[in-house]
Amino acid sequence: MVPRITIFILLSFFISCDYYIVKDYKEHVGLISKSEESDNPDFNPCFKEKIFPYYYGRQTAEYAKGKDVLSNYFHEHYKNFGNTHESGFITFRFIINCKGEAGNYEIRQVGLDFKKKSFNRETVDYLFSLVKTLQDWNTVEFFGDKYDCFYHLTFKITNGELLEILP
């Protein structure tokens, strides 16, 4: 245990040298370094050193069968488990590797006011299980070479009803 006097001296030292804490941006905004959710342990990005945003390249990354197929799939299978009072955005962020596989998921939930909220766990888990089944993606491509990218799917829910799949 560090004695209290040590902390006092340290603080006095920093204050006298005029130090303050600033935000530390260590990597590109949006990069998912570790998955927080249960994931496929065999998933690996092809190039850990550089993962592009999904909108880079001549052709942006997207679901290989098209957004229309994606949209129909979710509208067909979506369930709200009786929760008709919840509204907001559930976003699944993940990495698509150069082989078109998806993994390293991160889940974010905000209300319609863009403030953090928690949706019903059943709904989120069910949507997550649907998202994880999608494994055929077109990733970013430069001059015929494919690279890893991070992507996101956002589900806009209003009064328990799935309205839109964004972006």
Binding site: P3, I7, L10, V22, D24, K26, Y55, D68, P167
Partner: protein, 293 residues
């Protein structure tokens, strides 16, 4: 021994602190307000030269707002990488700050973001209307798109078609006077045509789609929707002709699409295939009575 332990513990705490947080001792109190404003603007411009959302880009923008917390452009630039990455809470925190500092500049831009990234038609309309009251007798152009066109899209999304047509027509008139019809965003005729179909004014719809089709590199969407209307009117030959053109243009990637988001009423290959199936059935039904006779 106790002195050695004391010194070692200070060193350990320093190392721990250094690895957990980033420390700075840069102060700008000695600068005048104008100097801080100028320095902050320089850091913002420097940040814009770097890859958006990269660590360096964000560090420079963060520095810009530390130097001048009223730098609305820097706040706006800080918000964008979060929007594109689907991190909406952080996006909102930064864009709200930018709007608080300069609503005239950024509220319409938030309207654009709400419309295309969230399909929040009512929210977008609120921002676009508010921005218009801030700049009277002037048409704003967030993201280089007329605010009238954007309001037309909002009302289209809200299914208030009369209001939508009003704003789209205002956009067409205004741009034609300012720049000439050749420089219009021809996608406006897609939406006008779709509204006409929904209001059962098929001849009007054909007029709009043909008008949009006159543009040099017109979208597959015009031909596709024309094919749809001809299908409704049982003009199968014309419908087939337009659908073939639509398919060719689509395969050449000559179609309405958004960048970083899906365009409103964007068409897909499956739509073209579905219409082709419908057309095949109509053609067969038409041929049957002819064969029987």
């Amino acid at each position: 021994m106790s002195c050695l332990r004391f010194c070692l513990s200070i060193i350990l705490v320093c190392i721990a602190l250094q690895s957990c947080v980033k420390l700075s001792n840069e102060r700008y109190n000695r600068l005048t307000i104008d100097e801080r404003r100028a320095l902050s603007a320089e850091y913002t411009q420097l940040a814009k030269r770097l890859e958006m959302g990269s660590a360096k880009n964000m560090q420079l923008l963060d520095k810009a707002v530390r130097i001048n917390p009223k730098n609305d452009l820097a706040w706006r630039e800080l918000s964008l990488p979060y929007l594109y990455a689907g991190m909406y809470e952080e996006w909102n925190q930064h864009i709200v700050k930018a709007i608080e500092l300069n609503a005239q500049a950024w509220q319409a831009w938030r309207g654009y973001d709400r419309l295309f990234f969230f399909r929040d038609y009512a929210g977008a309309l609120f921002d676009l209307d508010a921005s218009d009251t801030l700049t009277r007798n002037q048409v704003d152009y967030p993201q280089n798109i007329s605010v009238d066109y954007l309001r037309g899209l909002c009302y289209f999304g809200l299914k208030d078609y009369d209001k939508s047509v009003e704003y789209f027509q205002s956009f067409v008139q205004d741009e034609t006077i300012k720049l000439g019809e050749g420089y219009l965003d021809e996608s406006v005729f897609i939406y006008l045509g779709l509204i006409a179909i929904r209001q059962n004014k098929l001849k009007t719809a054909i007029g709009y789609f043909q008008r949009g089709n006159k543009f040099e590199e017109s979208f597959a969407d015009f031909n596709f929707h024309l094919a749809k209307v001809y299908c409704i009117l049982d003009e199968t030959e014309l419908a087939q002709k337009e659908l073939d053109i639509a398919r060719n243009k689509f395969e050449d990637n000559n179609r309405l699409r958004g960048y970083r988001f899906e365009a409103i009423e964007q068409i897909y290959l499956s739509d073209i295939d579905a219409l082709q199936e419908q057309l095949d059935v109509s053609t067969q039904l038409q041929e049957k009575p002819n064969n029987q006779s």
